[in-house]
Subunit: 339 residues, 2 copies
DNA sequence: TTGTAAGCGTTATCAC
DNA sequence: GTGATAACGCTTACAA
């Protein structure tokens, strides 16, 4: 059994509430008394019980996070970096992450709502958002506070943080142009993926800004095999590019495999700077995940959660701008040959 | 505000305790009454408050887990698989993971003790154990229950689960021998790493069992660059091997880079089956992490935590045996050429 | 400044 | 089978 306020009070020769005051409103306690209480706390190794605090305060100081199964195709991900960043940012605010699993988005919602209603979590962190994502509206309907890492396109009702994907591929494209490449392709996922679209947009805009013709825009699912196949298509393309920007490291790794297997010359830049990128000597765009984690926690704990006054001016504007974080290009050997 | 037992009781026209009985001892309640209460629960969306339950039961149903910063050298890791497995195994038992961060082992201990004393966690999961690891004795001294994934060599006082590293490299070695290799090297970390030692042992024993001469045993820190350097040493070795078993995928990837850059022939098998292994077409030994996660949770929640009777027979023997899990060799292109 | 009293939501005990 | 009472550990009015 752990010591309680009562034990501390007895040891210090004061009442239970004085101990509480020492912890929560020290200025109200005579220094001498305070010192005695603090000595007792230290000596007994007393820690306030978080469950009791939470029950009283109606706040568990826990943030829910659904951990997804590791996708077998994708090469390592930045997910573990994100999780660590989140946990670390929470530490400063005395909040912790509560991990849970679910089989699908529906189960994720049900699990989150259940944890919230049970008072196990105060809020939720969502990631991997996509257009039409069912989670934000569902959580909103159930009154579960949350912040999102990524956007769905309909993000006005909740705090979010995102990485400026467009800026990332634009930087990659400019880097390639600086190395002398004039014909730069892009490899992304199919159709309506908002992330891939934004990354393609950065490439397109950068090419336009530089006065370069637009190279081929290839699409395929995010796997190594697809990347390799796209590489073959690129090398056999009638209008063969000398460089390619890929929407992910996985695709880039596939491209690179084909390129290297054939001894061909094709500069490649990936996205995410996964550990695999370093292993393959692949240039890649690195997301500022640590900053994103801090921004998420801050978004969750500061205005939205603390003061949900209904008639206040909407969030937008100032703070929102700081939530779009700029990525950084990491240059390696895969993009530094000459065309 | 969420509904409470009281609300449910009022809605069902019974008393608070009857509601509690419906949840915790349904057989004691007349079916008719029970149905009425259950309807009220469903209609109100009532969920028992976990904080209140925890306070009452002196158990938070939370398991602490320190998430370490991502090691920048290592290629992806199996850590995210482990974490998911753990969280998923906990779900079945209605337990959740509480993530926390720390700067070093000392901070990890302090954090864990603090969380435990605060009633925020019931127990801890440790991983990355090494001989002389300060954590088990410290936690034991503070009375914090824990289970370890991995062994320190002095593991009698706590539940643990480990992967049979020796069996893994032995399987890799036999696989290479079957492909016709007669001279097989090993690349591991330096000195007293228990894990590397066990992996080297599997290779050594398998070679002996097969009547093969022992190839060179190289050592270096776990990085890509080191792997690449070891690869060069191997290719220039006076007694050049035709295959090598590496203690990690990171070392294997480095070896492979040198091998492929020089167009040399050297079969390589890694360890961990990280996503990078698939990317590099690298054969690798895959740890049964999902099973390990389940075993950890089970070790934590079943005998040790539920019934810490002091004078009982020690754990050893039967259950212990099942805690050493057999890995699986995943064969890919890096080891299927002929010597 | 310090102490008294009440309540957060749950469950176990014990009468009825 | 059901209902009143108490207790888990903490905090916050409020009174001394």
């Amino acid at each position: 059994m752990q010591p309680t306020v009562e034990d501390v009070a007895r040891a210090a020769g004061v009442s239970r509430q004085t101990v509480s005051n020492v912890l929560n409103a020290p200025e109200r306690v005579r220094p001498q008394t305070r010192a005695r209480v603090e000595a007792a706390i230290a000596q007994l190794g007393y820690r306030p019980n978080r469950l009791a605090q939470g029950l009283r305060a109606a706040s568990s100081r826990m943030i829910g996070y659904r951990i997804e199964p590791v996708h077998p195709h994708a090469l390592g991900s930045i997910h573990d970096r994100f999780l660590h960043a989140l946990a670390d940012a929470g530490r400063a605010e005395d909040h912790h992450l509560l991990l849970y699993t679910a089989d699908d988005a529906e189960g994720e919602i049900a699990g989150a709502v259940s944890l919230y209603k049970a008072g196990a979590i105060d809020a939720l962190v969502l990631y991997g958002l996509h257009p039409g994502d069912p989670r934000p509206p569902a959580l909103r309907a159930h009154g579960v506070p949350f912040a999102a890492f990524g956007r769905t396109g309909d993000d006005d009702g909740h705090p979010w943080v995102d990485v400026d994907n467009t800026a990332g591929t634009a930087a990659a494209t400019r880097h390639l142009a600086e190395r002398g490449h004039r014909r730069i392709a892009f490899a992304g996922w199919p159709d309506g993926s908002a992330v891939s679209d934004r990354r393609a947009e950065g490439w397109r805009e950068a090419c336009a800004g530089l006065g370069l013709p637009l190279g081929p825009h290839l699409r395929g699912e995010d796997s190594l095999a697809t990347g390799a196949a796209l590489g073959a298509r690129l090398l056999e393309h009638p209008d063969r590019p000398t460089a390619v920007v890929a929407a992910t490291d996985t695709l880039a790794a596939g491209l690179l495999r084909t390129v290297r297997a054939r001894g061909a010359e094709l500069a490649v830049v990936g996205f995410d700077d996964t550990p695999t990128a370093a292993a393959l000597d692949l240039s890649s765009v690195r997301q500022p995940i640590e900053a994103a984690g801090r921004a998420m926690i801050s978004a969750l704990l500061n205005p939205p959660l603390a003061d949900p006054a209904p008639a206040d001016p909407p969030l937008g504007g100032g703070p929102q701008a700081a939530r779009l974080l700029a990525p950084e290009l990491i240059v390696r050997g895969s993009s530094t040959g000459t065309p």
